[in-house]
C-alpha cells in the first residue's frame, strides 16, 4: 500500500516526454490497425445535412473554403462529404476562399470530387472563384456585387464568361451558403454580413475549437445546423452513404454508381478510431493526475 502511495505521489512529477510518447503511440496504433466503431449521428449534423438535402435540384450553393493544411484533417473530409452530397443531388456549386490556403484545399477537393468522381464541367456545374484578401469586407462586397470582388476566377477567366455565374450578381442570388471554417474570417462573418442581413440560409463545417462559439447561432436559427470537427465529418460521411444506399430524396443516376467509392474512401471514419482512443487516454491522464494530486495533498496534510 505504501509502495502504491509513493508511486502515485511520484506520478505528479512525471517527465512530460513520457506523456508525449504515450499520446504519440496512442494516436499511431489505431491508424495502423483501424478500429471499426459504430457511428451515431447527432442533432446538429443532421440539421446541417437536412438543410442541404432539402434544396431543390436547381439550387446554387456558395461554398467558402476557410481552412488550410493545419486544419485539413478535420475539415477536408467534411468538404469532400459535402461536395459529394451536393453533386449527387445535381446542385451547382460556387466556390470561393477567404483564406489563401483555402484556395489549395478547394482545388484538391474539387479535383477529387467534381472532376475525378463526378466528371463535371468546370464553369457550368461548378466554379472556383479563388481567394481574395480582405476578410469580412469581401463578404460585405459580394452582398453588393460578385463581379466587383471576383473579376476573374482562380484560372484567370473573366467572371462574365462563366456560365454558372450568369444569373448570380450578388450573394442574395445564391440559395445556400456553406462555410468550411477554421477561424477568422469564417462562419461567424458569413452569418453577420451575409446570412442575417440577406436572409440567405447559412450552415458550416468547423474545427472542434470553433464549434462552441457558433452554438448560439445554431440555437437561434441563424445557422442551419453545424458539422462539428472530425466526429461531425464522420457523421456526415455516414449520412451521405446511407442516403444513397437507401435511395432517399434527390439522387442522380451517376451518384448511385459512386456508392462503392463513397463507402471505401472515407478519411474521417478512418481517423475517428484514433481520435476516440486518444480522448480516452487524456481522460485517464486527468484521472491519474487528480488521484496523484489528492494522495500528495493528503500526505502533506498528515505532516
Amino acid at each position: 500500500m505504501a509502495k502504491i502511495t509513493k508511486f502515485l505521489e511520484k506520478l505528479d512529477s512525471l517527465d512530460r516526454r513520457i506523456i508525449f510518447l504515450i499520446i504519440g503511440l496512442v494516436v499511431l496504433f489505431p491508424l495502423l490497425v483501424p478500429l471499426d466503431l459504430p457511428i451515431e449521428t447527432t442533432q446538429l449534423t443532421e440539421d446541417a445535412f437536412n438543410a442541404i438535402d432539402q434544396l431543390p435540384q436547381e439550387a446554387k450553393v456558395l461554398v467558402s473554403f476557410e481552412y488550410g493544411p493545419s486544419t485539413k484533417p478535420e475539415l477536408h473530409p467534411m468538404a469532400i462529404g459535402m461536395l459529394r452530397h451536393l453533386f449527387s443531388k445535381g446542385n451547382k456549386v460556387i466556390v470561393m476562399c477567404l483564406w489563401p490556403d483555402g484556395l489549395f484545399m478547394a482545388n484538391e477537393a474539387l479535383e477529387q470530387v467534381a472532376h475525378r468522381e463526378f466528371g463535371l464541367q468546370y464553369g457550368v456545374d461548378y466554379v472556383n472563384l479563388g481567394y481574395r484578401p480582405g476578410n469580412e469586407a469581401i463578404i460585405k462586397g459580394i452582398t453588393k456585387s460578385f463581379e466587383a470582388n471576383f473579376s476573374i476566377d482562380s484560372k484567370g477567366i473573366s467572371i462574365t464568361k462563366i456560365p454558372i455565374m450568369h444569373d448570380i450578381q450578388t450573394a442574395k442570388d445564391v440559395d445556400f451558403i456553406f462555410s468550411l471554417s477554421a477561424g477568422y474570417p469564417g462562419a461567424i462573418e458569413w452569418v453577420l454580413y451575409a446570412g442575417d442581413p440577406l436572409k440567405v440560409p447559412v450552415s458550416s463545417g468547423n474545427t472542434s475549437i470553433q464549434v462552441n462559439q457558433l452554438l448560439p447561432y445554431v440555437k437561434s436559427g441563424q445557422m442551419k445546423g453545424i458539422i462539428a470537427g472530425m466526429p461531425g465529418a464522420t457523421e456526415y460521411e455516414t449520412m451521405v452513404v446511407e442516403k444513397i444506399k437507401n435511395n432517399t430524396g434527390l439522387i442522380t443516376e451517376h451518384a448511385k454508381t459512386l456508392l462503392p467509392v463513397f463507402e471505401t474512401e472515407r478519411n474521417a471514419k478512418k481517423f475517428i478510431g484514433a481520435q476516440s482512443i486518444a480522448h480516452l487516454a487524456i481522460v485517464i491522464f486527468i484521472i491519474l493526475g487528480n488521484i496523484s494530486f489528492f494522495v500528495k495533498r493528503k500526505n502533506q496534510r498528515k505532516y
Partner: protein, 279 residues
C-alpha cells in the same frame, strides 16, 4: 497532391524536425521554424499579389485595350504600362492576337480612383522607413474605420439583438422536458450576463445569481476545453497519417530512415552536452 520522392523526403524531414521539439529545443527544430517563417511570409505576399493586386488593382488601372485605339491621355497612360511590361513582363502582360497588340489586364471598366488605393497601399509600406512611417497611419485609419463601421452594425444585429431575441422562450411549452430546458437556457443566459455586471456589488441574492452564472460559464469552458482537445488531436492524426504514407517503398522509406537518423543525432547531441555540463 503528388510531390515526388524528393518532396516526400523534405516534407518528412520538416515534420520530424518540428516534432523533435517534444524531446528538447534543438538545431533541427530551429532550422524548420525559420524555414517556416520565410516560406509563410513569401507565400502570403505572393498569393495576395496574384489574387488581388494584379487583377483588381492593376486590372482596374489598366484594363485590356487595343493600343491602336488609344489616344491622348490613354495613350500616355498605357505608355506607362508598356514600361512596366518591359521591366515586369509576367505581371504586366501584353498580347498579340491576329497582329493586333493588346495591353492591360482583364476586362473590368477602368477606374482611376483606384490610384488612391494604390497610394494608401504604398503608404502602408512606408512603415518600414522611420522618417516617413507616419504616413502608414492614413492607411491604418482607413482599415480601422472600415472594420469599425462594418462590425458595429453586424455584431449589434446578429450577436446582441439576434441572441436576445432567441432567448425570449416560453417558460411553459406544454411539455415538461422542453419547458425545463427553456428555463435552464433563460436562467443560464441571465445569470451568466449578470456575472459580468460589475457596476453593482455581488452580495446577498445577487451573489447567488452570480454564483449560478459562474457554474454555467464553467460548463461552457469545460465543453470548450473538450472541443479544444478534440481539435488538437485531429491535427496530430493528420500528420501521423502523412508520415505513414511517406514510409512506403514508393517514397524510398523516407519516414523510418529519417526518424532513425534524427533520433541518433539527438541522442548523441544530448550525450555530448551532458559531459560538458558536468564539467
Amino acid at each position: 497532391m503528388y510531390i515526388g520522392i524528393l518532396g516526400a523526403w523534405i516534407a518528412v524531414f520538416l515534420t520530424l524536425s518540428i516534432l523533435s521539439y517534444l524531446y528538447e529545443d534543438n538545431v533541427f527544430y530551429k532550422l524548420a521554424e525559420h524555414i517556416f517563417v520565410g516560406v509563410s511570409a513569401a507565400h502570403w505576399a505572393t498569393i495576395a499579389f496574384w489574387n488581388q493586386l494584379q487583377p483588381n488593382l492593376f486590372g482596374r488601372l489598366w484594363p485590356q485595350a487595343e493600343i491602336a485605339t488609344l489616344e491622348g491621355f490613354q495613350k500616355f497612360w498605357y505608355g506607362i504600362y508598356h514600361v512596366l511590361h518591359v521591366i515586369f513582363g509576367k505581371i504586366f502582360p501584353e498580347a498579340k492576337v491576329d497582329g493586333v497588340i493588346y495591353r492591360g489586364i482583364g476586362d473590368q471598366p477602368q477606374n482611376l480612383s483606384y490610384l488612391i488605393a494604390l497610394l494608401l497601399g504604398v503608404f502602408m509600406l512606408f512603415r518600414l522607413i522611420p522618417k516617413i512611417g507616419w504616413l502608414s497611419r492614413w492607411s491604418l485609419a482607413y482599415v480601422v474605420g472600415m472594420a469599425a463601421g462594418l462590425r458595429l452594425y453586424g455584431y449589434m444585429s446578429s450577436d446582441v439583438v439576434g441572441q436576445i431575441h432567441a432567448t425570449m422562450l416560453p417558460l411553459w411549452t406544454g411539455d415538461l422536458a422542453s419547458s425545463i430546458n427553456n428555463i435552464i437556457l433563460i436562467v443560464g443566459v441571465l445569470s451568466g450576463l449578470f456575472y459580468f455586471f460589475f457596476s453593482v456589488e455581488h452580495k446577498g441574492a445577487l451573489k447567488v445569481v452570480s454564483k449560478i452564472g459562474i457554474y454555467y460559464l464553467m460548463i461552457y469552458f469545460g465543453a470548450s476545453f473538450g472541443f479544444a482537445v478534440m481539435g488538437r488531436i485531429s491535427l496530430l492524426i493528420g500528420r501521423f497519417n502523412d508520415l505513414i504514407l511517406y514510409s512506403g517503398k514508393q517514397y524510398g522509406f523516407a519516414t523510418p530512415i529519417l526518424l532513425v537518423i534524427m533520433i541518433v543525432v539527438l541522442v548523441l547531441t544530448t550525450r555530448k552536452k551532458k559531459p560538458e555540463e558536468e564539467i
